[in-house]
């Protein structure tokens, strides 16, 4: 029995195999060993006396054999030699087609395992940026493949990341790219970055954020995940650190998704009185019963619009505030008082205009004894729109002034922007009127200092004058 040691190197194995074949040494007379220590147990000098003609092998076999040689199982060398013998010496050139053959099968299995592992190396190597030397950026990676796949994947990384400088460490080997050439060096046992000081690559947090959010918590299939991303690769991938957390959070996230989206608003439409019974008083009293959206439960009462039926000017705000909710009338709180002042300054008689809100209930959040205003949601605005539509149908104003973004968007669509279009008269076919958007008086109240407030007030009055002149 000839014992041959190979140090994990396909070319070295080829060398040995070639010499053995020239002496026609049959497979069962050779024992192959991994020579971890380096040197070969086989002394090529003495044995190099064969004279038989060299064997010829199909290129496809050699290519696959090179892959199999990266497998960590020591038996690979013997399997390869038996196949070489049967194909090259015995001349069975189609042998590999025979998947059921006892030599072909382990060859195929090992080939598949190494291919999987090499593919996963391309997928799962994670570079981290370190800016630590004179030449600036440099990237390091720590990866734990099952087999010695670095030589199989090195060129891939060199091509793809050719403009960077990087090193990939594995337990068996390392590969280094300096921008021009690829070299292989010894492996390391542990993550070489774990001992580095300094902050982590800050892209890792963003990457985890992405990973967390692209995952759909309503579909859990950990089996499918583990099949493609076995745990043995997890330790070197930043995102796998949050998987347990994601699974724990999933039921909660599904619940919020449902709560957020499953809005079951029937809308106010269902509460409108029948056609022919939609005078303002009839609408007002029907609106008291409205349960068109969840806001019916939160406010004290429905705050309907008010003003003469033949008003030329209609004002639409966002929603009633705290005082309006208690009084049951629109624009009577602090913003209402500022509004009155502006009307007076613009020479408009409040008694002659119709004043209402896009949403008829007060959306708020209790905080201690106070009720804090909250913007109504888009779906609440939509639910409530039938009331506003009916008011417009009854009053048929010439000009509708939208106060603030919510009213503007309710009347002119979601693309409406107060900041860009304020003060413009926009003809609306839908409402049979011109719509003019301006800011909401409460926005003026919230402004930080007196001079900006004064300025905004001036501008507001100016918009009101424009509207009044057009009406």
């Amino acid at each position: 029995m000839i014992v041959v040691g190979v140090s994990h190197d396909f070319d070295q194995w080829c060398d040995h195999a070639r010499r053995l074949l020239r002496r026609r040494v049959p497979p069962d007379a050779v024992a192959w060993r991994d020579a971890d220590a380096g040197g070969s147990l086989f002394d090529p000098g003495v044995e190099d006396s064969g004279t038989a003609p060299a064997v010829r092998l199909p290129a496809t076999f050699l290519e696959r054999a090179r892959t199999v040689a990266c497998h960590r199982d020591e038996s690979r060398w013997a399997v390869l030699y038996r196949l070489v013998w049967r194909i090259g010496v015995e001349g069975d050139r189609g042998l590999l087609l025979d998947a059921a053959d006892p030599d072909v099968r382990p060859f195929e299995v090992m080939h598949k395992q190494v291919r999987f592992d090499a593919h996963k190396a391309k997928a799962f190597v994670r570079f981290r940026k370190v800016d630590d030397d004179a030449d600036g950026e440099r990237y390091l990676a720590w990866h734990r493949p099952e087999h010695r796949v670095l030589p199989l994947v090195g060129p891939f990384f060199a091509r793809r990341f050719g403009v960077m400088r990087w090193t990939i460490f594995t337990p068996h080997q390392s590969a280094d790219w300096d921008g021009r050439s690829l070299t292989y060096g010894p492996g390391v046992d542990r993550d070489p970055m774990s001992e580095r000081d300094g902050p982590n690559d800050n892209m890792e947090e963003l990457w985890k954020t992405y990973y967390r959010n692209i995952f759909n918590p309503a579909r859990i299939k950990t089996g499918a995940m583990l099949k493609e991303m076995p745990r043995r690769y997890w330790s070197t991938m930043p995102e796998t650190g949050i998987i347990d957390e994601l699974l724990r959070e999933a039921p909660e996230r599904v619940k919020t998704m449902m709560a957020r989206q499953q809005d079951e608003n029937p809308g106010a439409e269902a509460f409108l009185p029948p056609k022919g019974h939609r005078s303002l008083p009839q609408l007002r009293s029907a609106a008291r019963q409205c349960e068109g959206c969840e806001l019916c439960d939160v406010g004290t009462q429905t705050v309907f619009g008010e003003g003469p039926k033949d008003a030329r000017l209609m004002f639409v705000g966002e929603q009633p505030g705290d005082e309006e909710d208690l009084a049951g009338r629109p624009f009577v709180g602090p913003a209402g008082r500022l509004f009155d002042e502006a009307l007076a300054a613009a020479g408009i008689d409040r008694a002659a205009v119709y004043v209402t809100n896009a949403v008829k209930h007060f959306r708020h959040e209790p905080r201690g004894k106070r009720r804090i205003h909250m913007k109504p949601t888009v779906s609440q605005v939509r639910a409530c729109l039938p009331w506003l539509r009916s008011e417009i149908e009854q009053v048929r104003p010439a000009i509708i002034v939208a106060l603030g973004a919510t009213a503007g968007q309710a009347l002119l669509g979601r693309t409406y922007r107060v900041t860009q279009q304020r003060g413009e008269l926009i003809d609306s076919e839908q409402w049979g009127a011109a719509v003019l958007g301006t800011i909401h008086p409460s926005a003026i109240l919230r402004m930080p200092d007196q001079s900006t407030r004064d300025q905004a007030f001036e501008q507001f009055v100016h918009d009101l004058r424009t509207a009044a002149a057009a009406a």
Binding site: F161, L206, Y211, I220, K221, A250
Partner: protein, 421 residues
């Protein structure tokens, strides 16, 4: 709003997009050591990670913004939805793509968007991201852009010059469905957009035949996506539309995405998710049409227009055509072998090769890891047992009890799973 917050919102909003594959493009980046830029695309995509929902992460899948002026009832980003909104700048998307790519997290970018202002305005922004990546960042990775239906020809042209693939989404299988659930969209607009891309693609291929240096246009072709289960359309309608798109519009892929009821609970939308298995069956059927020589019309029947949820479409077809079987493994033509349940294209390829060497036996099929409990009844092998008797017997054999286990032990990740054996 900080970048992380935007990323959270706009990745979350993109998670229902089914199209994630990055294969089919080749964009080589100079020789080793002489790279012209970052990255390359070598024709087969890599899945860089997997999420606990069993799906892979191969691209950075984002919406430029989830603001949308349309009100499609099945869509979480519709204008009347209360979802939190955000919008990336062009620079932010470019930054995330390049930095993630450099760390080997992704194969490239898949960028879609809600419609902001107008189709043209939106398309312009998407195209600008791609231009910045290619020209300023010299990025050679994969770029897939949404083609906004109704965007102008020049903008589509610009986008296609920088993107590997584009997709105008049909959204729903029939025009009637669109009218009802996506009133601002129409099949016609989508078709026109697809045709514009198709024509430009054909033109550019012809140019490249003449002059090799002619610019490439959308080398990985175009794809589309359909939401399944939001409308009453049946599988036959869906497959008919898909076939029309594959043949008429030259599409590379049609993606199916199961409607998720959390997305909106408008009164006339179903309250239930269609079983995920339906989405899976459609992918299998799609696969049979593209790689197994089946005609879409064979897979369902006019009086039974939905795919079976119990059996995969190939097995269903086989059970309906007992006279076609058994197929002789040693003499049948390739096309017939491809119709055997349990035989994938790989198995068939290996059988064909082995046949040139010697007769194929049952042991060979087992060595090729063919599921014999499925294939057995449909084939003839030397000395092998063939359980082909009557259709009743076959149907008996493939009763649901036998199915349950298989169905749920199988992985359901979209891109791997769609291959029927």
């Amino acid at each position: 709003m900080d970048l992380a917050r935007k990323l959270a919102i706009l990745a979350d909003a993109a998670k229902y997009d089914a199209s994630c594959a990055s294969s089919g493009a080749k964009r080589s980046n100079g020789r080793l050591g002489k790279a012209r830029g970052l990255g390359d695309t070598d024709g087969v995509g890599i899945c860089h990670s997997y999420t606990p929902d069993g799906r892979c992460v191969s691209l950075l899948k984002l919406l430029l913004t989830n603001w949308c002026v349309y009100d499609c009832r099945f869509c979480v980003n519709r204008v009347t939805s209360d979802t939190p909104r955000a919008r990336f700048t062009v620079d932010e998307v470019v930054f995330l793509t390049v930095e993630f790519y450099k760390r080997n997290y992704i194969e490239g970018l898949f960028l879609s968007s809600g419609i902001i202002q107008s189709p043209d305005y939106t398309m312009e922004q998407l195209a600008e991201v791609a231009r910045r990546l290619r020209q300023d960042e010299r990025f050679f990775g994969y770029v897939h852009l949404k083609a906004v239906p109704g965007a102008s020809g020049e903008l589509l042209e610009k986008a296609g010059r920088y993107a590997d693939r584009m997709s105008a989404n049909v959204e729903l299988p029939t025009d009637a469905d669109l009218k009802k659930l996506a009133p601002e969209k129409s099949m016609k607009t989508v078709d026109l957009t697809m045709s514009a891309l198709r024509d430009r693609l054909i033109e550019s291929k012809a140019e490249r035949k003449k002059t090799r240096s002619a610019p490439r246009f959308m080398p990985a072709g175009q794809s589309t996506q359909m939401v399944v289960g939001a409308s009453p359309a049946n599988d036959r309608d869906i497959l008919t539309t898909a076939t029309r798109l594959y043949t008429g519009q030259n599409l590379k892929r049609v993606y199916y995405s199961a409607y998720s009821p959390f997305l909106g609970a408008d009164g006339d939308l179903p309250a239930m998710t269609p079983p995920l298995i339906r989405e899976h069956r459609l992918y299998q059927a799609d696969w049979l049409v593209r790689f197994y020589g089946f005609d879409a019309s064979e897979l369902t029947m006019p009086d039974a227009p939905d795919l079976s949820l119990e059996h995969d479409p190939k097995l269903s077809w086989a059970l309906r055509h007992p006279a076609f079987f058994p197929v002789d493994v040693n003499t049948a033509p390739r096309a017939d072998l491809l119709r055997v349940p349990g035989f994938g294209t790989r198995t068939v390829g290996r059988i064909m090769k082995l046949r040139t060497r010697r007769r194929v036996r049952e042991a060979d099929l087992r060595a090729m890891r063919t599921p014999m409990n499925r294939a057995g009844p449909f084939i003839r092998v030397p000395g092998g047992e063939v359980i082909k008797k009557t259709p009743e017997l076959l149907i008996e054999r493939f009763k649901p009890s036998d199915r349950q286990m298989r169905l749920f032990t199988r992985r359901l990740a979209v891109d791997q799973l769609e291959r029927p054996a």
